[in-house]
Amino acid sequence: MERDKELKELEQEVFRSYFKDGLWDIYGALILLGFGLTIVISWDYLILVFATLAVILLLFRRRIVVPRLGRVKFSSERQTKTKRSVLIAMVILTFTALLGVVFFVLFSTDSMPRWLDIWMGDHFLAAFGGMLALLVAVAAYIVGVWRYYGYAALTFIAYVLASILRPNDIEAIPILIAGSIILISGAVILTRFLRKYPLPPQETDGS
């Protein structure tokens, strides 16, 4: 059993090594900053920005991370575990989206119960932050990176503060601060990663 535990820890360490580049941190930070900016400038096409950022991130990872860390195929057990965790995340995401649709329909048809209308008016940001933090926590669980739990807590705290500061019209500030903290953290991790793993020499075909 102890033998299995040691190998399991080694496998987890290898899996985690693929998240020490800081790019996911930067992506998460940009999403949070985007949400904060939406409050300030109320821009409707933010989702397109997120999609573009995601594509850029994936391309960047392929060009920056893979040549430095190398390619690895994880065991079928790990692949199954990752698929299962992603499925759980997708269920939570779908549930959140459905909840949003339900609220939108209730709100737009004026059929929202009065108590819920009042509660949502007061705590909408905190509830949204809670959902967002839950998604980040699920991501932290999937990849086993502890700092992501910290980001989840930071996101939740920022949105609770935003909810409290909303009457003063400065609700964007804590969200922008949280996004900036995560962005700086990601940038520091990326810089360290690039310094620690310079590009290795190219393989030759031996001819």
Binding site: R3, K8, G70
Partner: protein
């Protein structure tokens, strides 16, 4: 006293019978990493083990000769690319090595 000597003899034999190919620290490291994944390339093993390109190549050659590792060469785009994988023989040998070493170390007194 005689019984103790016989016990020590057994331990010594147990340690002496471990696989010398895996016993070398760098190769043990390579085998350990390959045992927890399906396959990986040279760069991955280099970053994980901290070995130089030449050193890693030399150890991989020894493991390949022993039949513990299979080396597959292909191309990613136009660049040559080498993927490494433990063979069944390699997995069994690594498992046996660990069992023998654990047994030998567990029977040694702490002081």
């Amino acid at each position: 006293m005689v019984a103790k000597n016989i016990g020590e003899d057994k331990e010594a034999k147990s340690v002496a019978s471990v696989d010398r190919i895996i016993h070398e620290p760098a190769r043990f490291n390579i085998m350990a990493y390959l045992s927890v994944i399906q396959s990986a390339d040279f760069t991955f093993l280099q970053t994980q083990t901290g070995l130089t390109w030449g050193n890693l190549s030399s150890h991989i050659n020894k493991l390949e000769t022993a039949g513990y590792v299979v080396v597959e060469k292909d191309f990613v785009g136009k660049k040559p690319h080498t993927m490494l994988q433990l063979t069944d023989k390699g997995r069994t040998a690594f498992s046996d090595y660990r069992k023998k070493m654990r047994k030998a170390l567990n029977t040694l007194p702490l002081k």
